[in-house]
Amino acid sequence: MSLASVTDTKLSRRSMLKGSAAAAGAFSFGFAIPFDEAQAQGAVPEINAWVVVQPDDKVVIRIARSEMGQGTLTGLAQLVAEELDCDWAKVTTEYPTPGQNLARNRVWGNFSTGGSRGIRESHEYVRKGGAAARMMLIQAAADGWKVPAAECSVAKGVITHKGSGRSIRYGEVAAAASKLQAPANVPLKDPKDWIIAGKPLKRLDTADKTTGKKVYGMDFTLPGMLNAAIKDCPVFGGKVKSFDAAKIKDMPGVKHVLPVGDSAIAVVADSWWRAKTALDALPITWDEGEHAKVSSESIAAWLKEGLDAPQAAVGNQNGDVKGAIANAARVIEQVYSYPFQNHACMEVMNATALYTPERCEVWTPTQNGEAALAATAEASGLPLAKCEAYKIDLGGGFGRRGAVHDWVRQVVAIAKQIPGTPVKLIWSREEDMLHGRFHPVTQCKLTGALDKDGNLTGLRMRISGQSIVAGIFPQNIQNGRDPVVFQGLNPPGPEASIGYTIPNLLIDHAMRNPHVPPGFWRGVNLNQNAIYLECFIDELAHAAGKDPLDFRRALMKDHPKHLAVLNAAAEKAGWGTKSPEGVYRGICHTMGFGSYVAAVAEVSVSAEGQLKVHRIVAATDPGHAVNPAQIERQVEGSFVYGLSAALYGECTVKDGRMVEENFDSYQVMRMEDMPAVETVIVPSGGFWGGVGEPTIAVAAPAVLNAIFAATGKRVRNLPLKNTDLRKA
């Protein structure tokens, strides 16, 4: 029995029922038992923190990162299973809880699941976990046979002694293996010898997603649970001035009307629909505060001023860009802009909490269980050791559910006012749209210097606008500089480096932070930076009268990995060959989250200005490809997320609040917009890059450059819905 499998609702309910018979504080019984205690109670012992082998050979692999659709659960399990040499058909997974991680000196490392880091940052220690378990299982078999372990081999969880031909299953030696010392030296396989990792295996978590059995946070229930709906002041930074609970207290099902902090009101009822209905009827007067007059226009004007401001933090610099511009045969200068966007996860923010003065527990979809636990402790006022957060698989994350756990703080604040009663908070879609952590808003002025032969001699990029880090981790801002703001533009190195050598270069950032809370939004700052750089490079190529691919190649001699994926995409797409009648191509590339990516888009634009994206060819070099089938899905999905942003994504600020409240005004891509996507995976080895995010960033520039090829129009302000693409 898996004591940590919080998504197993049968177990959850059983545990909860068991607990509810005792003191309220014992509600957690069954969830909070650390694995080692569980073993003392007679459960199947773990081989190590990562691997449990049951007597029937079922292998339970522990996964620290969160599954939100990206397939990390399957990929990480593949890496462990590869080194374990178990039977993949017998693999299941479970999440250790954040509390267990803390109690065991963070034996599972970082829980944070963002920045495409699940595999790239934990591949080594999870593989060592699998390899160490294999060595212990073999040692246990060898001890039993009284032969040297070196004479034994294993395949699919069956250990064989070469000399005698005897064999034994993992399940038969697991108990003995669990008592052995962990080996000190744990060599790993050469990836070229992989038989489970590196293969296009199917996901482990699909079946329940096709039958409705999968329990998401929104579906989670506890006995006696109440349901809460919430409204936070629509103007960011505003507060509740007053509310009239008497007006709704007699509405069906209403139990409580509760303030949540100083800015929000929750209605708690027997069902969520009744809570929401009563909340909609509740008279609330807001103190909208100092930002009530801010608009998208006022923010844009402020950012525009930053484009020429004297003070800015430098991200990348070489040579003398001023001189290059002064001495140029031609100078091209343009300004681009990128709007606020909401993550718009399909599953709105939600969490369930149970508070007693002795203990506080939260069940929630989160990209970072440990951050959810920390938020629980802070909001409850209880020490970490008296709190627990249980992760539930996410109905989309995209960065919204990682760094900031505002909804967790809210549900704990509600639960704290009704101790002993479990309560589930679900945001309405409108609340989710109004209170996102938005893609940062920026503008960028780019100045390019060309010599008489059309060679790029200098590039100046001034980014003006919002810093996510300043909004979320202000302690990481040093001397006014946000290092993350330069993603994709960094000097040569292993992360987010620019793929060009330009003799004179200056890239800097004038920070302007509006009152709208920013967030890490899948692709993060690579999204706008790739548009700014790659569309402007396209403009420069056009101005120089050169082919956009050739113009880039000339600047990429010292960037072989960037160049290789660019070439891979160009070759597969047939760059330079004739495209179908009326279809035009655009190309771009970037590097971020440890991986190199490139794309070619094929589009047509009708006389009425209707854009059709026909085909995308996308190349990616993530170093090692742990599951090519799932990488393909991440790449395809990246075009949905990236093109949704490019075509439609815009949250408009008016009177200090967001205007778009639902999918009718915040449109996203649907099937009719979806192009064919051909994915080229070119893992070059020697490094580990992410795959969930980098490709987002090439979606928009590839399409925008193709639109220019089709129409002669440069779209410099996103989203595209605001531009008339009819031929002039």
């Binding site: 349901n227 399909m346 709105v348 994350g397």
Partner: protein, 155 residues
Amino acid sequence: MAKLTINGKTIDVVVEDDTPLLWVIREQIGLTGTKYGCGVAQCGACTVHIDGVATRSCTMPVSAITAEQKIVTIEGLSPDGNHPIQKAWIEHDVPQCGFCQSGMIMAAAALLQANPKPSDADIAAEMTNICRCGTYNRVKAAIKDVAAGGQLGRG
């Protein structure tokens, strides 16, 4: 008070007349496979069948439905997840986060029942559900596979 026939069972529920069918299904009946995504019939996560027609249950007041009408949710699509669409979904490894997939599957099943050989344009026109992970091409491939197999449609 309402009398509903869901997945072959007739059930009495005590709710306000204007309660959306979605929330009756989720909260009164306890079938949570049908999802809330938007509440304004935009995203399709709440799609169920009413007399075989794909219907967005989030904007359908429970009072508008009679006990004679047959409601089918994702839990009732097949006894053990073996509807041809569900099998094709597994074969194509369609879901990512999976949250929208109940609605996708219900929309696809209704589409093929009504139009066993849909063109790409038919699929795009009928499958207007939102998926933020971006499974559209896999959804389309799975639907086309089932259509090619000829297992669904008007008998």
